[in-house]
C-alpha cells in the first residue's frame, strides 16, 4: 500500500519555515555572497593585497593609473619583473618621465650670496637657466610659491635681480626638472624579455638596444601593451581607492575578509567541538559528575575572557592558532550549557532506552543517538557565535593585536578599520579607507546575525525573535 503523505523531519520542517523568513533569507544571501567573494578573490583579481605603490598615496575610489610596479626590471633573456598583466603582452611601451625634485636653501649675508645648500651638500653655483627646469619658491607649509626667474646664482656674488623678496635673507628653492623623458620598449614572449630599446626624446639618436633596464614606477606616465596585434593602454583601476602605501583597497578588503571569516569559522568549530563533547558528557552522566562539570562552567563563565585573550595574545605573540584556541575557548561555555540541557531532557526518552538495551556503548549512545537530536539549537547557536568571534578578533586587531603569520601581520577587517581610523585625517578626507572595510564587515555580521535569528525562529516557532 502506498502512502502519499510526505513525512518531514523536524529539521526539514524548520528549513521549510526558514524559506519564508525574509530577514533570515536576506542574511543567508548576504553571507553566501560574501563567502563566495572572499574565497574566489585570488582567482578573480591578480593584484596582490600587499603590492605597494608609495608614490600614489591614498587615492579616492575609482582612481586609475598606469599599470606598473615599484621597480619594473627587464633583462634580455630573463623573465620580466613587472605586473602580471603587463608581462602578458607581446610588446610593452613605457613612457617614462624622470622628474627630479630638489630643494636648495640660499642665504645672503652682507649683500652677497653666503651659502647655497641642499641638505648637507653645499655648492658654489646654481643654474636656473637649464632647459626643462622649473624653479619655485618653497613656502613654509611645503607648498610652491611664486615662480623664480631663470638666473644663475653664484656664491660670493650679489644675488640676481628679483630673486629675493624685499628684505629677505633666506630663500628656499624648489627645483623640479623633467630632465629626461624617454620611451622604453620591451619585447616579450611568454613573459621572457626578447629585446629592450630606449629612445630619449629630444635626442637625435635613434632608439638604442640595451641589455637591461629598471623602470621606476613613479616615473611612468603611461604604459601601452601590444598583445596579439591589439594595442591597449594598460591601467589599473582601484574600485575602492588606495591606502597611503598605494595598496588597492578592494583587494585588501576581500583578503581581509578571508582572515576574518577564517578566524570566525575555525574558532567557532573549536568552541563547537569542545562545547558539544563537554555538554553531552555532563548531561548524560548526570548526578555528581554533572554538578561538578557545570560548576566549572559556572566558574569559567564569570571570567572576563577578553582580558585573558589580550594577555594570551601578548604572551604568545599574536599567533593565529593561539587566536583560534583563545577565541574558541571563550565561546564553548554557552554551547556546553545548551547541549547539556538538551541531552538532560532527551536521555530519558525511549529511543535512548532502546539503544541501551540493544547493547550500544555509552560513547555511541551519546554521540550517535543524543548529539544529533540537539542539532537544531546547536546550529542556531553556532551561527550566532561566528559573528561574535569575528567581532572579537576585530576588537583585538583594533587595539593593535592583529594576528601575525611568520612575522607578517595578517590584516583582517578589524586591522583595516583600525588603519582607516588612523588615516581619517582632520576632516575625514580619506573616509573610504574606513568606509569599505566597515561596510564589508557590517554586511557580513548583519547577515550572520539575521541568519541566526531566522534559524532560531524556525527551529523554535513558539519563541518569537528576542
Amino acid at each position: 500500500m502506498k502512502r502519499n503523505v510526505k513525512h518531514k523531519s523536524p529539521t526539514g520542517l524548520a528549513l521549510a519555515r526558514m524559506q519564508k523568513h525574509k530577514l533570515g533569507m536576506l542574511g543567508l544571501y548576504l553571507v553566501t555572497i560574501m563567502s563566495i567573494a572572499v574565497v574566489l578573490i585570488p582567482y578573480i583579481v591578480s593584484v596582490s593585497p600587499d603590492e605597494t605603490r608609495p608614490w600614489i598615496g591614498a587615492q579616492r575610489p575609482f582612481y586609475s593609473h598606469p599599470d606598473c610596479s615599484v621597480d619594473n626590471a627587464f633583462t634580455v633573456g630573463e623573465a620580466a619583473e613587472t605586473t602580471e598583466r603587463a608581462s602578458a603582452s607581446d610588446e610593452l611601451v613605457y613612457h617614462v618621465q624622470q622628474q627630479q625634485r630638489v630643494s636648495y636653501r640660499v642665504t645672503v649675508r652682507r649683500g652677497k650670496i653666503h651659502t647655497i645648500q641642499s641638505g648637507a651638500v653645499s655648492t658654489n653655483r646654481l643654474d636656473l637657466t637649464t632647459p626643462g627646469l622649473e624653479a619655485y619658491e618653497l613656502m613654509a607649509d611645503g607648498s610652491r610659491g611664486r615662480a623664480l626667474p631663470g638666473v644663475v646664482i653664484l656664491k660670493g656674488e650679489e644675488p640676481p635681480e628679483g630673486l629675493f623678496p624685499q628684505g629677505e635673507r633666506v630663500l628656499i628653492l624648489d627645483l623640479s626638472s623633467t630632465a629626461d623623458s624617454s620611451r622604453v620598449t620591451v619585447g616579450l614572449t611568454d613573459g621572457t624579455v626578447l629585446f629592450i630599446t630606449e629612445e630619449h626624446s629630444g635626442s637625435e639618436n635613434p632608439a638604442a638596444a640595451i641589455d637591461s633596464i629598471t623602470v621606476r614606477g613613479e616615473a611612468v606616465t603611461s604604459v601601452v601593451g601590444l598583445s596579439s596585434g591589439k594595442r591597449r593602454e594598460l591601467t589599473v583601476r582601484h574600485w575602492f581607492g588606495t591606502d597611503e602605501l598605494g595598496r588597492d583597497l578592494f583587494v585588501r578588503v576581500f583578503y581581509g575578509g578571508r582572515i576574518s571569516l577564517l578566524v570566525g569559522i575555525v574558532a567557532t568549530l573549536v568552541s563547537l567541538v569542545i562545547g558539544l563533547a563537554y555538554g553531552a558528557v555532563a548531561g548524560y552522566a548526570g548526578g555528581r559528575i554533572d554538578r561538578v562539570m557545570m560548576g566549572i562552567v559556572d566558574i569559567l563563565y564569570a571570567l572576563p575572557f577578553l582580558f585573558l585573550v589580550i594577555l594570551l595574545m601578548v604572551t604568545f605573540g599574536r599567533n593565529i592558532v593561539m587566536l583560534f584556541v583563545a577565541l574558541g575557548a571563550v565561546q564553548w561555555l554557552t554551547m556546553a550549557r545548551i547541549v547539556r540541557g538538551q541531552v538532560l531532557s532527551l536521555k530519558e526518552m525511549e529511543f535512548v532506552e532502546a539503544a541501551r538495551i540493544g547493547g550500544e556503548s555509552v560513547f555511541s549512545i551519546v554521540f550517535r543517538q543524543l548529539v544529533p537530536h540537539t542539532l537544531g539549537p546547536v546550529i542556531v547557536y553556532t551561527t550566532l557565535t561566528v559573528p561574535v568571534i569575528i567581532m572579537g578578533e576585530s576588537f583585538l586587531a583594533f587595539i593593535g593585536l592583529q594576528v601575525q603569520y611568520h612575522g607578517a601581520s595578517l590584516d583582517s577587517w578589524g586591522a583595516l578599520i583600525n588603519r582607516g581610523v588612523q588615516s581619517l585625517g582632520q576632516n575625514g578626507e580619506n573616509i573610504w579607507l574606513l568606509f569599505f572595510p566597515s561596510l564589508a564587515m557590517v554586511l557580513t555580521l548583519f547577515g550572520l546575525n539575521s541568519l541566526g535569528d531566522g534559524l532560531r525562529d524556525c527551529f523554535d516557532p513558539k519563541r518569537s525573535s528576542s
Binding site: L303, F307, V314, S394, G414, S438, V442, S464
Partner: protein, 303 residues
C-alpha cells in the same frame, strides 16, 4: 537558597583563578618590564629587579603579590615608578565608570522605548524597521560606529567635540557609541518580553475591565516585560566594561581600559595585576549577579 549562597562562594574562587592566570601569563610573555628602557645601567636594573622582587623565585613572587593584593596594595608601577598602582587606578577609574554608567542608562532608555513601541505595533512596518535597526546595531562594532559619529557630528557638523575628556559634552559621543549594541539587545528583549506578557490572561482581564491601553501597558504589563531586560543587565554591564577598552581608545579618554592594554604591552607587571584585579572583580561580580538573578527570577532554574 543554599545553592544560591554556594554560588556566591564562587566569586573569590573565580577572582583567584583570574589573578593566577594573569600573573603567570604576563610573566611568560617575552621581555621584562625594564627591557624596553635603553641605557639602563646594570646596577640600576639589578636594584630595580630586587625592589620588585623579580630576582626571587616565581612562586615566592606570587605569594607575596597575593598577600599584598589582599591588603589592596599593588606597589608602585614598574613603568611610571614615581606613582603607585593605586594612584594610577584612582586617577583612571572614574572616567571609565562615568562613561560606563552613562552608556548603561542610555542603553536602557533607548532599548526599553524602542522595544515597547515595537511590541505594541507588532508586525507593522514600524516594528520591522525597529528590529532591522537592532540587528544592525548588534552588527555595528564600536570601532566603526564611533569614528562615524565623530565624522558626522564632530568633523562635518561641528556640534560636538571630536575626542577628549573633561567637558560633559565630550561624553556624549563615547556614551552613545558604547551603548548602541546594548540598546539593541535591550530593545529585542523588551519586545519579546512585552509580547509574551501581553498575551497573558491577566492582561485580558485588565482590558476587559475597560482600562485604557495606556494603563494596561504601563501599569500591568511593563513590570513583567522588564524581567528579561533586568536579567541581561549583569552581562551587559560586564560587556560594557570591556567594550570601553575600544571606546576609550577612539575618543582618547584617559580611562582604565587603555591603562590595562598599555600595561600589558609594556610588561608593567604590577599595573597589569592592579587593573586586572579591579576590572576583573567587577566583571566577575556582575556575571555572578546576573546568573543569580536568572535563578531568582526564573523558578525553573532554581533546581
Amino acid at each position: 537558597m543554599l545553592t544560591l549562597l554556594k554560588r556566591l562562594l564562587y566569586v573569590p574562587v573565580v577572582i583567584l583563578l583570574l589573578v593566577t592566570a594573569t600573573f603567570f601569563l604576563i610573566r611568560l610573555a617575552p621581555g621584562g618590564p625594564f627591557s624596553a628602557e635603553r641605557d639602563l645601567p646594570e646596577e640600576v636594573e639589578k636594584a630595580l629587579n630586587a625592589k620588585f622582587r623579580l630576582d626571587q623565585p616565581m612562586l615566592v613572587q606570587y605569594g607575596a603579590m597575593l598577600k599584598d593584593a589582599v591588603r589592596g596594595d599593588f606597589g608602585p608601577s614598574m613603568k611610571h615608578r614615581e606613582r603607585t598602582v593605586r594612584q594610577i587606578i584612582a586617577q583612571h577609574l572614574p572616567p571609565s565608570m562615568i562613561l560606563g554608567a552613562l552608556a548603561i542608562i542610555l542603553a536602557l532608555w533607548i532599548g526599553i522605548t524602542v522595544g515597547t513601541v515595537s511590541a505594541l505595533k507588532a508586525n507593522s512596518a514600524l516594528d520591522y524597521f525597529g528590529m532591522g535597526v537592532t540587528v544592525l546595531g548588534i552588527s555595528l562594532p564600536a570601532f566603526v560606529f564611533g569614528p562615524l559619529l565623530q565624522l558626522l557630528f564632530a568633523m562635518r557638523l561641528d556640534w560636538l567635540p571630536v575626542a577628549g575628556y573633561g567637558a560633559p559634552l565630550q561624553l556624549v559621543l563615547p556614551a552613545l557609541t558604547l551603548s548602541l549594541p546594548f540598546a539593541a539587545r535591550f530593545a529585542r528583549l523588551m519586545r519579546a518580553g512585552m509580547l509574551e506578557v501581553l498575551s497573558e490572561d491577566f492582561i485580558r482581564t485588565a482590558r476587559s475591565k475597560g482600562l485604557s491601553e495606556r494603563i494596561v501597558v504601563l501599569r500591568h504589563a511593563f513590570r513583567g516585560a522588564l524581567i528579561p531586560v533586568v536579567s541581561f543587565l549583569g552581562p551587559a554591564i560586564a560587556a560594557i566594561t570591556t567594550g570601553s577598552l575600544v571606546v576609550e581608545k577612539i575618543f582618547n579618554i584617559p580611562g582604565l581600559g587603555r591603562e590595562f592594554v598599555e600595561s600589558a604591552l609594556n610588561r608593567d607587571y604590577t599595573l597589569v595585576m592592579g587593573t586586572t584585579i579591579v576590572y576583573g572583580s567587577f566583571i566577575v561580580i556582575c556575571n555572578m549577579l546576573s546568573d543569580l538573578s536568572y535563578a531568582l527570577l526564573d523558578p525553573r532554574v532554581r533546581r
